[in-house]
Amino acid sequence: MRISEILRLVMLNLSQNKFKVILTSVGIIVGSATIMMVLAIGTGGKLEVAEQFKNLNAGAIDISYESNATEFGSGGRDGGGGMPNMGGGFGGGGGFPSGGGMPDMGNGMPDMGGMNDDRMNQEKIVLSTEDMEDLAVFVPNIADTTISYTTTTEVEGGDLDSASSYTIAGVKSNYMSISNLELAMGEFLSDENDENKEKYCVLGYSIAKEIFGSVYEAYESVIYIDSRPYVVRGVLSEMGSVASGISPDTTIFIPYETGIKYITGEDVSPTITVIAEDVDEVDIVKENIESVLADSYANAEFTITDAGSKMEAASKSNETLQILLVAMAVIVFCVGGIGIMNVLFVSVKERTNEIGILKALGCSQKDILMEFLMEACFMSFIGAVLGVMLALGITPIVESFSVRVELSISGGLLSLAFGVITGTIFGFYPAYKASTLIPVVALNQE
């Protein structure tokens, strides 16, 4: 038979059975759409992880102390002498542990021994600038150290109608370089700002836009944090989301000591960040950090995490997610494929009589197969195209659940191919079976 005539028959059949075409296609539509979404969500997840870590330093090691369930000492809580702002309005003054964090005390390396006792006897362990300096001196192979904390407090000013809560981060001047942050305008906080406890701040990109409308407006304006005026010294560029720690876009950075003086008092749990010189030495550096800290705080358990293992964990869980998604896609396709096979099998069974007629009239097996193959191919192609369109259609809905969907042409083509191949195979096989029958058998099959 001429190919053009076979095509004409295929078109006749398809146009006569529009409903059946749609019905058959549903499995393929769902299957293709799922493959497409799975690929898109998988790729999205991968990119998400990559982006979250883009401003994370691979050699960074975070040290924090979270629980206070250790070491209730014998009450020598006057340790490192009076904190400058001890009395400053903080409740619970009685049992309040002094952090030992006197800024001007740091030159006392020879005093180490003495200080140990002091710190060990505290009721609650609070990491301090001194601990950071200890680490900087005693742990070899480290490039830099910094200390920071976050808190939440009321902010007013700019375009804000009323006071709203924002994340405030107390940081040292080197925080910016350690966290790979970039400035859109102005300067970052300086050491002097910190030492003099000056009321300056640096705004995250989103916050600057939120409070002042633009980066330009924000620069050198004044915001009120806890009702005290802070001058905006700089505004950061948009950094995107991060996996852990501080989200720079939505944070207000102030000098470390300024925050302790005016906002938090001693009620903070700072994190010390140590940057290893060599990423390969992170493990050794971690061990050394532990032993140095153990000198100061015997028996205290610190949480020490390095960026590398965080990345590893995150990409591992992302991999798990992807395997899960692929497994889901495979299942959907098997189930969808079986559905397609059933529908096509039933419809070819129905059409076994037609195949019998074709054979009785002298249609060659080759022509019969060609016709059914083309039909299955067309149907699954329509289904696959609709499936891809469905995937495009539900993308905004999936995204509204804050799932990142990264559509790609290759994903679209793959799901298209998958749909066409599955539909064609499952549509073709029953027709092939029917075409091998001798005419009487095919005609008599009910």
Binding site: M1, R2, S4, E5, R8, L9, L12, N13, Q16, N17, N353, E354, G356, I357, L358, K359, A360, L361, G362, C363, S364, Q365, D367, I438, P439, V440, L443
Partner: protein, 228 residues
């Protein structure tokens, strides 16, 4: 030379482990231009014989020559060609393709030969006029009466200009009037030079043919004037 030459043909069906013979030592020949009726009661093996003559079924033993070609030695693939070129089969239950309209159904055998549909439609104009279905060409089979469907199936059989027309109970599903019309048409087609073999269980129908053979219980014999 005979168009059909059947020698000692046997055919049976498996019933469980046992083979039930249906056709027993059939000898039968048809000359060019003949109009033969095979008369027999229900279950006698008429359809089984017709399917073998029409190359739709395989025989168990014996020889079958169609236009000199040894069908019993032919592969299924070549049988396809034989069916398309030599045989016009008119089924008892029409066997029209329901999704195609009348014209599309009629031209199918020609398309299978590699003809384009325009040429094929052209070629069938006379046939559809002859069978007075030329005003029903766009209709689908389910929009036709039984008589009309029978005529479409006859038109399809004629379209390929076969060596022989085979009709299985052509009047079986029709009322007397339509049945008579079909028989009249067969007479006319025979006069035009077509060779026709028709099977029926009805003596009156068989009498429309020029020659009658009888099949009883799978055995073929010449009609001796008795049938009940």
């Amino acid at each position: 030379m005979s168009i059909i030459e059947i020698k000692h043909v046997n055919k049976g069906y498996m019933l469980g482990d046992e083979k039930v013979p249906v056709l027993k030592d059939i000898n039968f020949s048809v000359e060019k231009g003949e109009f033969v009726a095979i008369l027999g009661p229900s279950g006698s093996g008429k359809t089984t014989l017709m399917n073998i003559i029409g190359c739709m079924d395989l025989l168990d033993s014996g020889e079958y020559y169609l236009n000199g070609r040894a069908i019993h030695e032919t592969t299924e693939k070549d049988m396809t060609q034989v069916r398309n070129k030599e045989i016009g089969f008119i089924f008892q239950n029409y066997q029209l393709i329901s999704t195609y309209n009348v014209m599309q159904n009629i031209i199918m055998p020609l398309l299978m030969r590699g003809m384009g549909h325009k040429e094929a439609e052209e070629k069938c104009q006379e046939i559809v006029k002859l069978l007075s279905i030329d005003h029903r060409l766009e209709h689908r089979p389910n929009e036709l009466s039984g008589g009309q469907k029978q005529r479409v199936s006859i038109a399809r059989a004629l379209a390929s200009e076969p060596a022989i027309l085979l009709a299985d109970e052509p009047t079986g599903a029709l009322d007397t009037v339509s049945g008579q019309e079909v028989l009249k048409l067969f007479g006319k087609l025979n006069e035009m030079g077509n060779t026709i073999v028709m099977i029926t269980h009805d003596l009156k129908v068989a009498q429309a043919a020029k020659r009658i053979v009888k099949i009883v219980d799978g055995r073929l014999s010449d009609y001796d004037g008795t049938y009940n």
